[in-house]
Symmetry: C2
Subunit: 274 residues, 2 copies
């Protein structure tokens, strides 16, 4: 493996530079990338500190660093460009074609992405998060009539993190209901769920993976036994089919992917955009 | 305001295209962008469906659409390029310089970002989320010795969503403790927090904003009264100063920004990278 240091420079959080850089880096698998995020570069001093950090890596590493940058203000970009490395600057590349297309000079102001410019979006995400927490695990409040989507699945199939991600990322109201022993035995869903049938979405998982996850929590006992895990998965799939509930196998997917697939499959609209 | 349709095309979730596009679009404020994400373009049919959707927008809108694309596989990229619009293709622009720099052809395989390639990262994020939930709001478990950071602040200052975001995005173990009437009266922190003084991080907020947020929850009564809100904020700031707790004013910040500022200020390492 070839070692490389990768810098993500931003006058904001660095999330954009990280996301872009990560997408690209995954395409090069004989490299080991040491990743350093330098956010909030909003002064000459901080820009010079970034140059110093990059020079340090350049001196220590065999190869020069990669630098993904989303600095908006020209004065800080110019300082940072003094650093030796491969500069991949998002604004350099895309702002000019966008300015030409839109017939407008860009603002060249930082703090516009991920900013509180939209207080309404912040409130929506917070409210959606509170909704997810209150309606987690078949929770007491069960405001299912307010839900955009209700995730259904066995314990540890990924319902809670997916609901929270849908809330935080997209402001979507996601509740979740863990299928119970009673549901498996009767083969029925409780009435309060059947009333919301068009909002239900199932999470499926392979027995091997579910066992692995459950063992992290409780190594021994019925909960993580091969037999129990197979039984629950078989019965949950029967219930999904019986009620015509769409479902996705989460085994190979990250939380982002599960969330995106749910939105894509259900057509639920994002209430906010990242 | 000029209306434009913006497409985010991806063979994966579309998060990278959205993040990049959003960063750029915020620089153009006399436009109203109608945003459409078309994820999981992993077949000729889906690529052609994307072309159809773009052509539809092109026919209906006054201006041609903008197309942010992160399609990795050349066959689908070629189909999509037939669509009329301004194409901003991340792989087009950045893969070649990266290939030259790294001396390696890129894999041109989709599904590498946000994928389950790293099961370990998935588990870490899930575990961090479970930790945040168990240690939310001074919760019963109080495994503060396991925490990377413990957020302290008044009710509704943004502790819970920030902890969940730190967990889901970075795998960081974040607990939170809401300051109580008792803490304000004594001016002391409880002993179980004082033992973890180097992990504490405070969230501050302006009285106006806190009142606005609390009123959404309970319009009337002491909880959202101007006097109570001012009192709590004043006392919490005294506590932060008394114990030398670093803090950030969250009023103007999004959840992403608060989380990034906490990592930047504390030096807490990300356990996973997005």
């Amino acid at each position: 493996m070839i070692e490389r240091t990768v810098f993500f420079l931003s006058d904001q959080t660095g999330v954009t530079a990280e996301t872009l850089g990560h997408s690209l880096m995954t395409q090069f698998d004989n490299h080991n990338f040491r990743q350093v995020t330098l956010p909030f570069i909003d002064s000459d001093d901080k820009a010079r500190e970034a140059v110093r950090r990059i020079a340090e890596a350049d001196a220590n590493d065999e190869h020069r660093p990669l630098i993904f940058s989303t600095l908006v203000q020209p004065e800080f970009r110019n300082i940072v460009k003094e650093a030796n490395g491969l500069h991949l600057d998002i604004f350099d590349v895309f702002l000019e074609p966008l300015e030409n297309e839109l017939g407008q000079q860009s603002a060249h102001e930082s703090g516009r992405a991920h900013g509180m410019s939209d207080i309404d979006a912040y409130m929506k995400r917070i409210e959606a998060t509170n909704f997810a927490l209150a309606n987690d695990d078949g929770g007491v409040s069960r405001n299912y009539e307010m839900a955009d989507v209700i995730l259904v699945g066995v314990s540890r199939s990924g319902k809670t993190p997916t609901c929270l991600y849908l809330a935080l990322q997209y402001g979507v109201y996601a509740a979740n209901y863990p299928l119970t022993e009673e549901d498996f035995e009767s083969g029925n869903l409780p009435e309060f769920l059947r009333n919301q049938n068009d909002k239900l979405f199932g999470l499926m998982i392979t027995p091997e993976r579910l066992r692995q996850i459950r063992k992290e929590r409780r190594a021994m006992g019925k909960y993580s036994s091969a037999q129990q895990v197979r039984y629950e998965i078989r019965e949950s799939e029967k219930i999904f089919k019986r009620y015509g509930i769409p479902y996705v196998d989460t085994t190979e997917f990250s939380i982002e992917e599960i969330a995106s697939r749910i939105l894509d499959s259900t057509g639920v609209e994002r209430r906010v955009r990242p």
